[in-house]
């Protein structure tokens, strides 16, 4: 449990983070972690289907959830007077979720529409986060389709859902985060009243996720029938949390691609006119540098100018990364990147959802919520030499996977 009182406005954020994400869904059940997230909004035996959302909206609150690689989060932001109700509702769905055939079939349909709207009916659908990891990794937990193959979604049973719920959704695998307008002792009492009675269900250890680092660059191509122009992504294996290069790589990402002063923007979009757009970083575009508990990618995505091939775009990205590795960043570049981290830290803290998410991820995935407030200090200790070392170690072509995203060949389009 993590408590972070902040009383400048009369609202609270309540989050429950379960250490159960895409990576541990069973084989043959791709997409199940996310499908299960949907089922958590389908009511309990005490508070049936439409009432959960109605109760929160009636109290003036907002709710949602999100599934990531190594956790799934559920949250409410509501007036302070609704704190106890939110604790009750979270405890209730931790124990009494109503898993039944009717809601399961309904939510399978809904999730399939979600995949259609975000992936199948869109140009560049799922580029690059959904696809790049499927090429860059080789073991099932890291390399499957996290949104789910339709056949797997359709094959899901109520029994699968019960088993997943009982295994991963017990209090032993949950982190509760409260932020906002409450007194600490009052919050402790509410949590005691509603959550302490939830019977313990210790979670099994998370399966081993690590994979050896790649030894040679792999190149893959996907044809997107809806895409009018190509894009390309390069995914390097990135430093894991806690490793000495982890924070320096976050700064390297800003130095490379954050804003018009960054190297890739200035050199490749501006001076050399090779790219129209570039973006990236550790875990891009999912969350920030702290999202992952297992192996992850540092991704650079680029849109070449018309007439520039994706291969030429990759060669240009390689040159810039190599230059940064060879010369290192200037002291000013590192200082600017730190200021950006500091500004992002403050902006995140200003919203209940932002603060709650930072604390929840750091607590649930890394067991270290205190680190959230140490970040400004930790970033201030990263030197230009640290960034150079991290880039040299991790952003090597031989540790990367390239995904060329191509429109259909001219003439073959419908």
């Amino acid at each position: 449990m993590v408590l972070s009182p902040e009383r400048s406005s009369p609202t609270v954020g309540v989050g429950v983070f379960y250490r159960a994400g895409f990576r541990l869904e069973p084989e043959g059940r791709t997409g199940f972690a996310h499908l299960f997230e949907h089922l958590m909004f389908q009511g309990t035996t005490n508070v049936p289907k439409p009432h959960f959302g109605n109760l929160i909206n009636s109290a003036g609150g907002l709710l949602n959830g999100f599934t990531r690689h190594d956790y799934t989060a559920y949250f409410e932001v509501l007036p302070a007077s609704a704190l106890e109700m939110a604790c009750y509702l979270e405890a209730d769905r931790m124990q009494f979720l109503d898993l039944n055939e009717e809601t399961l079939r309904n939510q399978v349909d809904v999730v399939k529409e979600e995949v259609r709207v975000n992936v199948l009916n869109q140009p560049y659908g799922g580029f690059s986060w959904l696809w790049l990891s499927q090429y860059a990794f080789s073991t099932y937990p890291n390399a499957h389709n996290y949104y789910g193959e339709f056949a797997d979604l359709e094959a899901a049973t109520v029994r699968d859902a019960r088993e997943f719920y009982e295994t991963w959704y017990g209090p032993g695998n949950a982190t509760l985060v409260l932020v906002g307008d409450f007194a600490e002792d009052q919050a402790r009492k509410l949590v005691e009243r509603h959550l302490s009675s939830v019977p313990a269900r210790p979670a099994p250890p998370t399966p081993a996720l690590d994979e050896p680092l790649p030894k040679a660059r792999q190149e893959h191509t996907r044809i997107d029938p809806l895409a009018p122009t190509p894009q390309v992504a390069v995914g390097y294996r990135t430093a894991p949390f806690g490793q000495q290069d982890h924070l320096p790589l976050a700064l390297a990402a800003r130095i490379l691609q954050d804003g018009r002063s960054s190297r890739l923007q200035r050199h490749l979009v501006g001076e050399q006119q090779l790219l129209l757009h570039v973006a990236g970083g550790p875990h891009y575009p999912i969350g920030d540098s702290f999202e992952f508990g297992g192996p992850a990618l540092f991704t650079l995505e680029a849109t070449p100018r018309p007439g520039v091939t994706t291969a030429a775009a990759v060669a240009a990205l390689d040159r810039e990364v190599e230059l940064l590795a060879a010369e290192g960043p200037s002291a000013e570049e590192v200082e600017r990147a730190r200021r950006r981290e500091l500004a992002a830290y403050h902006a995140g803290n200003d919203s209940r959802l932002g603060r709650m998410t930072e604390l929840g991820v750091m607590a649930a995935v890394h067991r270290n919520p205190q680190m959230v407030d140490e970040l400004p200090q930790l970033f201030s200790e990263v030197s230009p030499a640290d960034v150079t070392r991290a880039v040299r170690e991790w952003l090597r072509p031989e540790r990367s996977t390239v995904l060329h995203w191509q429109p259909p060949a001219a003439g073959s389009r419908q």
Partner: protein
């Protein structure tokens, strides 16, 4: 209807009670008008050591001689000044722990900037120099043109793009609110001089509004803003847009996108905007229909039928009207069935009063969402900048929940009947043409082939 099952028969007495939604309070507001006409509002909000800055001028996407010029004007601002090129400008802003984004709605262009509060004075000076004399350097402008053309090519491949463009055309006709996105030809033809001219005509200090929210001391901030922005000179008047004469169509305009695996459904009508007597009632009606997790579209089309992932309705508040829309993406084989349910929900809202409890939930949801949005510096700054563009201020934000409470179910039904009824809405769909046949029993259908220009 199974979507409404169970609402009355469940015992929820074990659920802890909650209190009323707290009121919105925006305290410490100070205002001033600079000698050159710039209207300044400063709100202290020291939650974190940052400052949020918004500046708006009447240079929206519907203003100016063409869509290409209006959009390139916005894209050209961050390219810097004679003294600072785009990379140098970005460096300076990042040195302040800051950021700069330029955005547009139909009516106005917004500079949205932020910085660590210790750097507030430097931020204002940088932005003032930029607002007064953007350089639009030819070389960098060529890159922005290429970005815009590429962005348009990508957008046209998305199903929502022709839907939105088509609806705008049907409702607004030749009015600039219905102006299609720029063509590649007009983008190519829009040069530096056109942007300098448009900037000179539309960046008027007399029509500019500055909003600052953050960890600031208002008096000192006002003085800093005055120092930075007083030299700004420009025209006193900026020509406005003609009144909206909203049109519409009784036919479903079905834009063919062969191979689509979903049909995009977009229905809309022109209604009132902020400050109009019907506005709050229509806001409530739109939210009952499709705002949030427990709306009727969500309950029926998603949670009961499983036809769609995120059906929703919203009211976009332009200066001259409000565009009420309902939209969803549904798999091809339920295109007709989903449209039937949408028409049912629109008709129900226009014909029957919203039950007391449902209306109360919707009021609380809207009030609470407003409280939550306004509690961050950025959220408050953006909301203030937007209502100020309509001639309103922080008191309008404060009175919102009271206005919601005072709006009756009868008024909500009247607003729905006038603006959201099936007969008031114009419907555009984008999808595989085979799906269009499912609609012919429900409404006249006009199948549009080609690029989606109606």
């Amino acid at each position: 209807m199974s979507a409404e099952r169970g609402l009355t028969e469940v015992d929820l007495s074990a659920v802890p009670e909650t209190g009323p939604v707290p009121p919105v309070r925006v305290t410490g507001v100070s205002r001033t008008v600079l000698a050159n006409g710039v209207a300044v509002m400063v709100v202290p909000r020291p939650t974190v050591p940052r400052v949020e800055f918004r500046l708006s001028v009447p240079a929206g996407a519907a203003m100016g001689p063409s869509a290409a010029a209006a959009e390139l004007l916005a894209m050209g601002i961050p390219l810097g000044t004679k003294e600072l090129d785009q990379a140098q400008l970005a460096e300076r802003i990042q040195d302040l722990g800051g950021s700069l984004h330029v955005s547009q709605d139909h009516d106005r262009l917004y500079l949205q900037a932020a910085a660590l509060s210790e750097a507030e004075e430097d931020l204002y000076q940088l932005l003032a120099d930029l607002v007064m004399a953007p350089e639009f350097p030819a070389h960098d402008l060529a890159t922005e043109r290429a970005k815009l053309m590429e962005g348009l090519r990508m957008a046209r491949a998305e199903p929502h793009f022709p839907a939105g463009e088509g609806l705008g055309r049907l409702i607004y006709g030749d009015h600039p609110y219905g102006r299609p996105e720029p063509s590649e030809t007009t983008v190519r033809r829009t040069g530096r001089q056109a942007l300098l001219d448009l900037h000179r005509r539309s960046f008027s200090p007399w029509r500019a509004q500055i909003t600052v929210v953050g960890d600031v001391e208002p008096r000192r901030t006002q003085a800093r803003l005055r120092r930075a922005f007083s030299p700004w000179q420009g025209p006193r008047r900026v020509p406005g847009l003609p009144a909206v004469r909203a049109g519409g169509s009784d036919e479903i305009h079905f834009i063919a996108r062969p191979g689509s695996v979903q049909t995009v459904v977009l229905a809309g009508s022109s209604g009132p905007s902020h400050g109009h007597p019907d506005h709050v009632a229509l806001t409530l009606a739109t939210a009952v229909l499709g705002g949030g997790f427990t709306s009727r579209m969500m309950s029926n089309l998603r949670e009961d039928k499983g036809y769609t992932y995120s059906p929703h309705a919203r009211l976009s508040n332009h200066l001259l009207d409000g565009l009420a829309t309902a939209s969803m993406e549904v798999r091809n084989e339920v295109t007709g069935a989903a449209y039937l349910e949408l028409v049912y929900e629109l008709g129900r809202l226009a014909s029957l009063e919203v039950p007391r409890e449902e209306l109360e939930t919707t009021r609380s949801y809207l009030s609470g969402a407003r409280v939550i949005m306004l509690q961050t510096q950025a959220g408050l700054a953006t909301a203030l900048a937007q209502v100020r563009a309509h001639g309103l201020d922080h008191r309008y934000l404060e009175r919102y929940s009271e206005q919601l409470a005072q709006t009756s179910a009868k008024e909500v039904m009247a607003a729905a009947r006038r603006y959201l009824a099936p007969t008031a809405m114009t419907t555009v769909m984008v999808g595989d043409p085979d799906a269009a046949s499912q609609l012919r029993a429900l409404a006249p259908v006009r199948l549009v082939r080609g690029a989606g220009r109606l």
